[in-house]
Amino acid sequence: MNAISYYRPRNLVEALKVIHDYAGRAKVIAGGTNVLPDIQAGKVKDCVLVDVTGLDELSGIRMEGDMVFLGSLTLISDLAASRTIREQANVLWQACQVFGDPLVRNRATIGGNLAYASPAADTAVPLLLLETTLIAESLAKGRREIPLTQFFRGPGETVLAPEELVTSLFFHSTSSYQGAYIKFGLRQAMVISVANCGVLLKGTDTFQAARVGFGALAPVPLRATQTEAFLCGQVPDESVFAKAAAIAQSELHPISDLRGSREYRVMLADALFKQAMRKALA
């Protein structure tokens, strides 16, 4: 029997208690842009949908010193329209401009994007480059911080316990960096990436710091740490980009799927990385 029921807690304490009481059967729903198609497809069934959209305390963008805090329910459209995000986390802002379509952005939350753990998730690479920390809360484990680098386990899998709720995330401002996010989809807009790449660079004559990330080119979105190490101290020119792209290839594990073959993704990684480097420095 496919029994789905619904519960709408009014605040965080109540939400954590409900998720705890329905241990194993609770299924968090935020914007629903992943959950509703999954209900349609029969992938979500036999559960208690715990609707967190009434938890106003989990929404919003706030700066404290040079730290940016985001509630997990913050909408992609609010990030895309935020001056704080444009100035302090431009690489994330760029990703939010190309995320889905305007109507999806009006519902999709940043917490849902991370928790769904698609290897192609558009906020994942930018948030990895920003060295984001998540805050997860549950009655059993209390409140804990999870560095985003340790969060993804595989496609659709995270380190979250079934009863943990992502409540917020935070990162340092990168206003002194130059960044770029490039997404390649099968159409201009609205589609899940075939592959994506983001870079965050500091220094113009030589690179003082370099952060490089790839999405949909391995089971989880990842930082290319060897590529980053190589780039530090190098001058920004095409031969350096080519060498760095070759190193990046060794750090990726693309798969074949209905959106592209393995070989195609290898070529894409190369092209997207070089494009991102050029765009960041332009």
């Binding site: 789905i4 842009t33 949908l49 329209a81 305007p102």
Partner: protein
């Protein structure tokens, strides 16, 4: 604890209260079409891809097949029918007719809603911005050019949208409905 497989849902649909029982996993789209008989909201896919089901929900344009009916309890929902007396929407409708932007018409309600959403946020979009604005709406007939022409023609006449557009630019997610209505954020804030 009162987790329910179905419950009584009240929405404010085009400024009128509407009440019916909805299943826990029922989409707002199904609720509107099958319970409220608001068949001007179309179902082209039921999974977020086509945009025919667009409604103004709680001050934001969304795809109603991606929202649970239960999530809409107590909220305002406007369908294209409810926006008919809005000047911007009326202009868009006229322009779609003048430019032949309608063939079978199935995509039209959603397309108009997406165009309305775009022009409220960005009164003078470029053609490429218009394309981005309707990127989530599929049309199998027109090839999009005439739809883009129709939207571009209205985009020129911005005088009547500027006020609403200003306030939409930075929607304040914590504002109450009343505040939003005052800010012009919810153009048709009831009462």
């Amino acid at each position: 604890m009162d987790q329910l497989t179905e419950s009584m849902i009240t929405i404010f649909l085009n400024d009128q209260p509407f009440q019916a029982v909805a299943g826990a996993s029922e989409s707002l789209l199904d609720f509107l079409r099958h319970r409220a008989l608001a068949t001007e909201v179309k179902c082209g896919c039921g999974r977020g891809d086509c945009g025919t089901c667009a409604v103004l929900f709680d001050g934001r344009m969304v795809k109603s097949c991606l929202v649970l009916a239960a999530q809409a309890n107590g909220k305002r929902v406007y369908t294209i029918r409810g926006l008919g007396r809005d000047a911007l929407m009326a202009n868009l409708q006229d322009s779609f007719i003048q430019h032949g932007a309608i063939q079978c018409g199935f995509c039209t309600p959603g397309m108009l809603m997406a165009a309305y959403n775009l022009l409220r946020i960005k009164p003078t979009p470029t053609r490429s911005e218009i394309r981005q604005g309707i990127a989530g709406n599929l049309c199998r007939c027109t090839g999009y050019q005439k739809i883009i022409d129709a939207i571009a023609a209205v985009a020129g006449k911005t005088a009547f949208v500027s006020e609403a557009a200003d306030s939409l630019d930075s929607p304040n997610p914590t504002a109450t409905d009343q505040e939003k209505a005052k800010a012009g954020y919810l153009l048709l804030g009831g009462g």
